[in-house]
């Protein structure tokens, strides 16, 4: 418990991250820290990212309610600061019969987000992103990672709400090291002719990414209560970290959305795109890992049974 939930980030992972980002080995022991990486990646102008960011702002100008997003972010930050209390509880006690008797723990963590999320859906925010952002190609992911490093979202804002250096490095790795996985989440508009999904029924990519992440966190209370006999402390650790990581991704995403809503933007257009894409990428990778680590409880993974 406590520190045990932290994501595993090895020296080798850090080396790979530095190599992927094309940064030199900057620390004395050869292991690039998040701060080292941030210092080594210069904020450079990326005309394509800048163009995308400008298009998103233009598309949504005047439609977003900055106050609603601010409230969501403030609430989410507060929840993230107390998030470890949820891990300390482990599996909460039932409070009654049926689904209604499942206590809200993880659902409290995401409670502040829903109103802003619904607002983004209502104004067509996710459709706009689909129109203005490309697929998760290696190039787009590379640009996203660099943008994330030069912006404050990962480095400062998440640090302020309890993501330590290792956790922030892990989130950055989620983006950088998963281009193949992310590319499977195909934007509806990019689906080749003849094999298209019905666009009326398949939501925009960024909607699927962020909304899907929230649904996974939303489901955790019931999952843990109902499957208690299968759970180990490792599974609980993994579940907590992946949920926290998803919320980290949502926080990064919402910060970018707020910047779109703001009359006085704080992020560059490049950083805006990096925040949106990076936040969504983090939610994608971690919802898949949450599923794999905490829901698909095979015989090898489950707690030993007392029944046999």
């Amino acid at each position: 418990m406590g520190e045990t939930y932290k994501p595993r980030v090895t020296a080798r992972d850090r080396e790979r991250l530095a190599a992927d980002l094309g940064t030199p080995e900057v620390s004395a022991d050869g292991e690039a820290t998040f701060a080292d990486l941030r210092a080594a990646v210069a904020a450079g102008a990326d005309p394509q990212f800048a163009s995308m960011g400008a298009a998103i702002r233009a598309d949504l100008r005047g439609q977003l309610d900055a106050e609603r997003i601010d409230e969501a972010l403030a609430g989410l930050d507060e929840q993230l600061r107390r998030a470890e209390e949820v891990r300390e509880v482990g599996v909460p006690e039932r409070v009654g019969k049926g689904d209604a008797g499942v206590p809200e723990a993880y659902r409290e963590l995401i409670a502040p987000v829903w109103e802003a999320y619904d607002h983004l859906v209502e104004v067509g925010f996710f459709e706009s992103l689909s129109s203005n952002l490309p697929a998760f190609t290696p190039e787009h992911i590379d640009g996203t990672a660099r943008g994330l490093l030069t912006a404050d979202a990962l480095a400062t804002d998440l640090a302020d709400v309890g993501f330590d250096e290792r956790e922030r490095t892990a989130l950055l790795m989620d983006v950088v090291n998963n281009d193949t996985r992310l590319s499977r989440w195909v934007p509806t508009a990019d689906i080749p002719e003849g094999v298209e999904f019905n666009v009326d029924y398949v939501p925009p990519l960024y909607h699927r990414a962020v909304g899907g992440g929230l649904l996974w966190v939303k489901s955790l209370d019931r999952h843990l209560v109902q499957k208690e006999i299968l759970l180990t402390e490792d599974v609980l650790d993994d579940a907590f970290w992946r949920a926290k990581a998803i919320l980290g991704g949502v926080a990064v995403f919402l910060r970018a959305a707020r910047d779109v809503a703001s009359d006085e933007p704080e992020q560059t257009d490049e950083q805006l795109v990096a925040g949106l894409s990076g936040g969504a990428a983090i939610t994608i990778v971690n919802q898949e890992e949450l599923m794999r680590e905490a829901y698909w409880l095979t015989e090898e993974k489950r707690a030993p049974t007392r029944a046999r």
Binding site: N198, R208, A209, Q287, A307, R308
Partner: protein
Amino acid sequence: MATNQEDKAIQAASETIVEETELGYQVFNAPDESVLHQHDTDRIPQFDVTQEMLDDAGEDPESWLMFGKNYEAHRYTTADVITPENVDGLELEYEMEVGANSSMEGSPVIVPGDPPVMYQTNGPSHVKAIDAREGEVLWSYTYPAPEDAVLCCDDNNRGVAVWEDKVYMTSLDSGVQALDRYTGEELWYTSTADYKEGYSATWAPIVYDGKLFTGSAGGEYGVRGFHCCIDAETGEELWRMHPCPEEEYIGDSIKQSGGTNWMSPTLDTERELLYFNVGNPSPDFNGTVRPGPNRNTCSTIAVDIHTGDVVWSHQESAHDIWDYDSAMQRMLIRDVEIDHLDYSGDIVYNAGKTSWSYTMHPDTGDLLVRGEPLTQQLNFMRQVPHVEEEREYVMLPGLLGGQDWQPASYSPETGLCYHKVLNTPHSVAWRNEEYRPGEKFWGGIVDVEPDEEDIPDEYNGHISCIAAVDPTTGQVKWRDWIDSDRYLWGGSMTTSTGLLFAGTQNGQLVAYDAEDGERRWEFDLSDKAVSGDPVSWYDPDTEKQYVAIQVGGSGFVGRGPRGDRLAVFSLAK
């Protein structure tokens, strides 16, 4: 007595053809209008099948009044003439060619009387009343299955419900047809959904307190599942519920969410809850277009019988990407002791395509016991690769389970549950695929016969087995591996004398000693697979106990050749 050739309804059913097309399986040459042929209908004793009879159905040795024998779905008969000691004297009383060369997956219903009357169905949407003592058809009825209905997995019809003077049958076009059970005449028909969108119906409905409960099939066609309650007297819909709640899906993904409920529910008369089996999400293999756990797909859900409100749900395969429906009719087992949990009370139980059995608390859905795997689990619960990865992903259990729809049985004498399960490796991959309403919608590709070199070395080579499970511990008490080039299909039945009856894909009906799995009796029925579910009753006038089973392959999904036989065995006191 008219022969099958002279019976217009049987003739219409037998002329109906089901073939695989690009859209899925389709019905051809069905009659344009319903066909009824009456024979000696006066032979059917005229009395109501009362609610009291249905409530007591589990204890009554002279009847088999609903798909699972009782509302708790035990498939257990108290008829006690046939025992382990005398079962070798069981003889074929009569057999019939029922007409349609169909999948034959059903359970006949037996209404007691002089004579007992059997209501037997087969696909597509054909039902007949039979003098169960003489094996003679009293009336037969063929519903006009539409030719533009498409089916993923055959033209199944697994049985009827009876109540008062009516018999109820689901129809392939996603409806319920009520018939006069004495004459076979149509009383009312209710369509529950538009079959042109991919909906169909294949299971036996159940009736309780004047309410008829019926679900939805079509999960491979991008539909949204539902279950509805219909006034059994009038056909009026009383409530409708969707297993998949809108607030648990992203945007319009709910519209093709799947989560159909394509087998009969189980009823808890004390709690007034229905326990539903819920199928896979849509599309089957590409989860990226339907993110989230896809709540209540591949689940048990407990539903208030009066309102349709979901009280609890328990999911077996979150965000399923392997087609691991959870289709087995749930069992409600009362007054169980679970020593290691110090638990005493009722349990809800089933096994799934995952090959695990699940013992749940009936008030919460909390998992009390997850059983040891009924089959092998290899490459199990891993991310399905995209077709572009060119990686063979051969998983086991394959798409058909584990425990698929095959109705399991329970014996209060042994305390064991009995499953017919598949140990079959299948290869799957996902790809983007367009969905058009009414067309096949899998979102991937499947190879049910993967190359030998792609099958994991650990595979034991046994395609199927019949296994006995203690629901209080999940322990597999005995297992009989059954090998074939066909899939093991159909259900089982237990007796109060300690027998377990089950058909095999190799054409045999087997009676096991339910305690230890010893084969006490076998009868070679056919070169066709036995895909039906055995039922049994005692006839006080003949002083015989009868066992009936339908014979025929589920030719498409089960690989075996289709058939159209009904075999009835008997043993005198």
